[in-house]
Symmetry: C2
Subunit: 186 residues, 2 copies
DNA sequence: TGACTTAGCTAACAAACTTAGGTATTGTCG
DNA sequence: CGACAATACCTAAGTTTGTTAGCTAAGTCA
């Protein structure tokens, strides 16, 4: 028999993430974070729509521009940054190339590799879009003052690295599960 | 002819979000935020997998528990919180009901409405899962100290409200576009 | 009562991916 | 050098994750 008054077990243990010994704040924070994420994604879909792109295509597009450097970025590197399969990048990139927004050229240093770069037309489209993005982004982060924004921006790199560690840790744990069947509720 | 040395237009204008008059930090922040979001989502998919659920089902599942209160939550309210269609909630909920994790009962106060609630079996599964979540969540937010965590957690509500405003603003602007064809690059 | 709106369901479809399997190229090691 | 594994990309087929359209039942309100 489960005690209906039992406190559910904590979903975090670091004392920095507990408030009065409870993970309630953390749980609220996670749900809030996910809700905010949905909102940001729906807005990004609209940005893409203005350019005639799907949300995924738009994300691919701005990722290429952000990472292209002087020479361009390879398909596999884009896939790594977006955490999607290379095959998906190949397929969606083809559409961007067809639209004249991205160009592909062979990597002179590696015959297997292809370098992706945003075309001048693509750059122009993104510059035009900024007119729309500006007021939306201003609204989106209205809550943050200068110090708060800088703090969070400065933490992003660390958060991504810790996220990658957590992801690996999770992969290990879930592979462990496979062999022990701890969660077999069938 | 486009001047290759021209600075791209700003994607934000609030001075709080600009660093030395540039939106470079903001752009990095957005890309970092999206990358972090992908990592969190991939981890959540794994949590779901341990319970035999897809990522979307798991998200639905924990959202029902989070919002059910004493009486349960309606299909349409869940859909609103997750920003998905009611039809999708109906379909995925059916699977959770079949697995015995969620129960549906008619809303005594409204014959059209159905109330969703996590069953004791479902609660037990989520409690067992906490053992795995704890170390992963600890790793995921290693970068944040107590003050930073509390600050960000305290800002979530405001961020969601501003996100909703931005979403409406965006819907308005994009509907405006439809009639003016400002972004017709065809 | 009649006209409209809302809640939920089903079915058909579209979008956003993945996996499997192929080819060409490169790196490595006896 | 030659064999062989690994890497980069591509294509095709399938899966997951949603959506829209249209229906029924129930509530709202003049």
């Amino acid at each position: 028999m489960t005690d209906p008054n039992a406190t559910p077990p904590l979903t975090v243990s670091r004392h920095e993430l507990l408030v009065a010994g409870s993970d309630q704040t953390f749980r609220e924070f996670i749900h809030g974070f996910l809700a905010f994420t949905s909102l940001v994604e729906s807005i990004r879909d609209k940005f893409g729509e203005l350019l005639g792109l799907s949300g995924a295509q738009y994300e691919l597009f701005i990722t290429i521009r952000h990472r292209q450097g002087d020479e361009g970025i390879s398909v596999s590197h884009v896939a790594q940054h977006l955490y999607v399969s290379g095959a998906f990048v190949t397929m969606e990139t083809r559409k961007l190339v067809k639209l004249g927004l991205v160009e592909k050229r062979p990597n002179p240093e590696d015959g297997r590799s292809v370098l992706l770069r945003v075309t001048p037309k693509g750059d122009q489209m993104l510059e035009d879009l900024a007119v729309v993005q500006r007021p939306i982004n201003d609204t989106l982060f209205e809550c943050l003052d200068s110090d708060e924004f800088r703090l969070i921006a400065a933490r992003m790199g660390c958060l991504i690295r810790s996220g990658q560690r957590a992801q690996k840790q999770m992969a290990y744990l879930s592979q462990l599960e496979e062999t022990t069947d701890l969660f077999d509720y069938s």
